[in-house]
């Protein structure tokens, strides 16, 4: 159920906030075999639910999230509740304050039921966490949920909750959204507060929601920026909308993904949009630049960590790689970034939204380390981030929505990108596509 649907039940007194939380906790106990959560805060959630019920009885309604169960990726500071980052380094870390977005969502009435599992320190896209368990894809537990916000995606895809919070440094919201068949929104860089969120790479980190639908993500974004009651724009026509299709987002896709992307473009044309090919800077160049910047920034954050035994093999390797990036390379990465930014500023005078795939494949199997796409073998991590990582370098808002199914019945993710602060545009187009699909 969506945030709106659950909210309607609460307001119609079909279910109380306490009952909803009790049901959610029971559901998780019985059905969550996906290792979605590291910590469950049941008692705390029930206490808050009692308060929310009293408020409703007294006539106080906090808006769409009043009484709605949600969860936070275990990178978000939660006062008195341990925040592990999915790592051994932070296994006993208990923050003494809440992240700003934790506070904001609580103010908006949402009730956190716990902290979700993730790729260790959010540095990876499989969520195969060696310390807290591999997160499994609820649509097919033989497959990865994607990451690094894997647990948040699994809770939403498993229909335990309508919305959970994640972070995205190189695709960590959009990749799991794509692999789990849900919506995921990476807002514009800086739009949502990162205060009290453990950093991975300062200039690439974004906080955002993973939701059962586009509207859930839009409502969450509003709550996080302090808008508690809001009608999300929807539309039946996209007449006049200028849709750009960059070759890098529509080529080099697995056949089954390509079929669905083509269908989506056709649907956009039917809705009245003007769909055309556009050229952008080379995504491979932007991805290389983003990797240089990220490796160096993450190495800076973990500069004092020298004990290999505290980290999973893959994460330790990435930290080592980060230590090898030179100062001049980081600076030149930032210079290149400005040039890419300028190219995109120019592009936004010609188009309103860019459309393509989120990931070139559907969710890989747990044991898979490589995939073959159009006859070319690629590392799973590189393939999964190939279409998303560059956007973190730019800071543009990007939305992934579930659009159709691939060959194994696994969902395909469609990515929409807009100009800075163009989240409303993404929501409008995303909702129109969702409506056309249903």
């Amino acid at each position: 159920m969506t945030v709106r649907e659950l909210g309607a039940q609460i307001r119609a007194r079909k279910i109380s906030c306490v009952e909803l939380i009790e049901e959610t906790l029971k559901d998780i106990r019985e059905r969550d075999k996906f290792r979605s959560l590291i910590t469950v805060t049941g008692e705390q959630a029930l206490a808050t639910a009692r308060e929310r019920d009293e408020e409703l009885t007294g006539g106080k309604d906090r808006g769409p999230f009043h009484g709605i169960p949600i969860a936070f990726k275990d990178l978000f500071y939660t006062r008195g509740v341990k925040t592990t980052a999915g790592s051994l380094v932070y296994r006993d870390f208990v923050p003494d304050y809440d992240a700003t977005v934790v506070e904001r969502l609580r103010e908006a009435g949402a009730i956190s039921i716990g902290k979700t599992n993730l790729h260790e320190i959010a540095f990876g896209i499989t969520s195969k966490n060696p310390h807290y368990g591999f997160v499994l894809n609820p649509l097919d537990p033989k497959r990865i949920a994607g990451g690094s916000s894997g647990g948040s995606a699994a809770l939403v895809a498993g229909k335990f909750l309508p919305m959970a919070l994640g972070t995205d440094t190189g695709g960590s919201i959009r990749v799991p959204a794509s692999y789990c068949g849900i919506a995921g929104l990476k807002p514009t860089y800086g739009r949502v507060s990162r205060h009290g969120v453990l950093p991975l790479a300062f200039s690439l980190d974004h906080v955002g929601p993973l939701g059962s639908c586009v509207e859930d993500c839009a409502l969450a974004l509003n709550a996080m920026v302090g808008i508690y009651d809001y009608n999300v724009p929807g539309t039946r026509t996209l007449k006049g909308l200028r849709v750009g299709v960059p070759p890098f987002l529509s080529q080099g896709l697995a056949d089954d993904v390509n079929v669905e992307v083509e269908k989506a473009l056709e649907q956009l044309r039917k809705l009245g949009a003007d769909v055309r090919a556009v050229s952008t800077p080379d995504f491979a160049e932007m991805n290389a630049t983003a990797r240089v910047v990220q490796l160096a920034e993450t190495a800076a954050i973990y500069a004092d960590q020298h004990d290999e035994t505290q980290f999973g093999e893959d994460v330790w390797a990435l930290l080592e790689q980060g230590r090898m990036i030179m100062g001049h390379e980081y600076v030149n990465g930032q210079r290149l970034r400005t040039l890419f930014r300028r190219s995109f500023d120019e592009l936004w005078t010609k188009v309103d939204v860019l459309v393509g795939a989120t990931t070139p494949i559907t969710a890989p199997l747990l044991e898979q380390n490589t995939v073959t796409i159009q006859g070319k073998e690629e590392n799973v991590r590189m393939a999964s981030t190939r279409l998303v990582r560059a956007i973190n370098l730019l800071g543009e808002p990007a939305l992934s929505i579930a659009y159709g199914k691939g060959s194994g019945g696994m969902p395909v993710g469609l990515q929409l990108i807009a100009a800075p602060f163009g989240e409303e545009m993404l929501v409008r187009v995303g909702k129109a596509l969702e409506r056309a699909l249903n």
């Binding site: 200039s203 160049e285 020298h306 390797a317 930290l319 930032q334 210079r335 290149l336």
Partner: protein, 186 residues
Amino acid sequence: MFERFTEKARRVIFFARYEAAVLGASYIDHSHLLLGLLREDKGLFSKLVHDNDLLKNAAELMGLKPSGDKVSTSVDLPLTTEAKRVLVFAAEEAESMGDPHVGTGHVLLGLLREPGAARDLLAARGLELTGVRKVVAEKERAPLVTPTNRQIVDSLRTDFRAAMAKRLNPELEPAVGYSLLAETAK
């Protein structure tokens, strides 16, 4: 050149000089450095070799025999070109591991890079560069740089440099980096 050498690494050279003097040599060779290292850092070798033969009979195993009279400890003995190279290699190894200091482990790696009796003896005991690098990196608590990581970063650099060559022009874009830093600092 020795200012970056740790106290222990400096003592290796001191003991190498001592060994050379005892053997009546008029110079310090790389084989003397190995003898000095064996004397100074037995712990290092205990991790790497499992027999005592190396520790006890290294000089003999390298074919070193006392020749003539013991040299007085007050006489200055020069390092041979090979021995100097070992020390340069040691400094290089420390640098590539991101370690500001040259330790005994790095000296051992230097010995493994210089052809000669010392390296032959170590190789016969199963010591090779890649394996010893891992042990040394752990010992010195410096980041471990495995060939795989180096390959990954080298490949990333190839793509990154291509982008730089294509797009960055120092004359046209002198201040690009500064404006970006100002933006991200917000």
